[in-house]
Symmetry: C2
Subunit: 158 residues, 2 copies
DNA sequence: CTAAATGCAAAATTTTTGCAGTCCC
DNA sequence: GGGACTGCAAAAATTTTGCATTTAG
């Protein structure tokens, strides 16, 4: 499987880029913004606003859920984070901005990242190109991850 | 651009398949279910539950929104319709079950279908296959459609 | 006739907003 | 210091649920 996109060693660098982008965009570097971004950047599970809020409350007890929502919206507008496409009610987010794709387990709802360079460099069908301006193309794979498959087998036996 | 998936001529056939599936699955063929399915099958714009409800109220004034939600959920469970992945709050649906992909205009939120056979037959990267059982793989393209591009140009001039 | 489906109303869930106080630059 | 940001509370938006009634098979 593709390796983790944000090893600990690079988190620091990602934070610096974040701070730089904020300064350029005239976004104030508040404690809340820094911590929300850091929490999302180090997460690999594409958390929802609520999940982030829950995680951050341990260290920031007064952080409110609406600030998390507002902050994520602001980040999204400045292309610092992305909303992940799902069919579920709660929106989920990622700080990974490098081109990649998603594997979604329909059973446990886990979302995994993967790279697919040969796809990325494949041109689109000709008739699509006249639809408009293409910003990006992404693959989403749905299925059942190994963990959930194993669980199902256990259940069947009982 | 790819042609329409459900020309009028085939709607009748699609309804018959629908009815057959309902009978097999012991789903009662109520007036509401038939009309909700027909409305979705003939739509090409991937409507939300609310949009479907609004459209159907003209001919079925007593149809309630919660029935639309409940019915779509039931249909989805029986693989008669699909929820479309979006980043928006309202879920959107389609009755098109044949393998296809989506173009989404980030400006007007329009969702268009397209086919891409060469992609469909491309094998996945080897390291993905050990993730679990793959059910399907789909491409989503984000961008701005021609209509919205034209609008933007007009706005800039004023 | 009977279990399933619907409509109504009310609740639950997720996200957004107004406003007063707080904090970064 | 001033405008942007946050927390609180309340509202809005979307979806789900309980229950009495209706309906398909």
């Amino acid at each position: 499987m593709s390796e983790n996109f944000t090893p600990d060693s690079s988190l620091q660098q990602q934070m610096e880029t974040f701070e730089e982008t904020c300064r350029t965009a005239d976004l104030k570097l508040t404690h809340q913004r820094l911590e929300i971004y850091r929490e999302l950047a180090k997460a690999t599970d594409h958390p929802s606003a609520e999940m982030l809020h829950k995680r951050l409350q341990k260290t920031m007890p007064t952080l409110s859920l609406d600030t998390v929502y507002r902050t994520l919206t602001t980040f999204e507008q400045h292309h610092l984070v992305k909303k992940v496409q799902t069919v579920d009610s709660q929106a989920r987010f990622e700080a990974q901005m490098v081109q990649h794709h998603h594997l979604i387990c329909d059973s446990c709802k886990e979302i995994m990242d993967f790279h697919w360079n040969s796809f990325d460099s494949t041109p689109l069908p000709a008739d699509i190109r006249q639809w408009g301006t293409i910003r990006n193309k992404n693959v989403t794979i749905h299925g059942t991850c190994q963990k959930c498959q194993a669980l199902k087998k256990v259940k069947k036996r009982t």
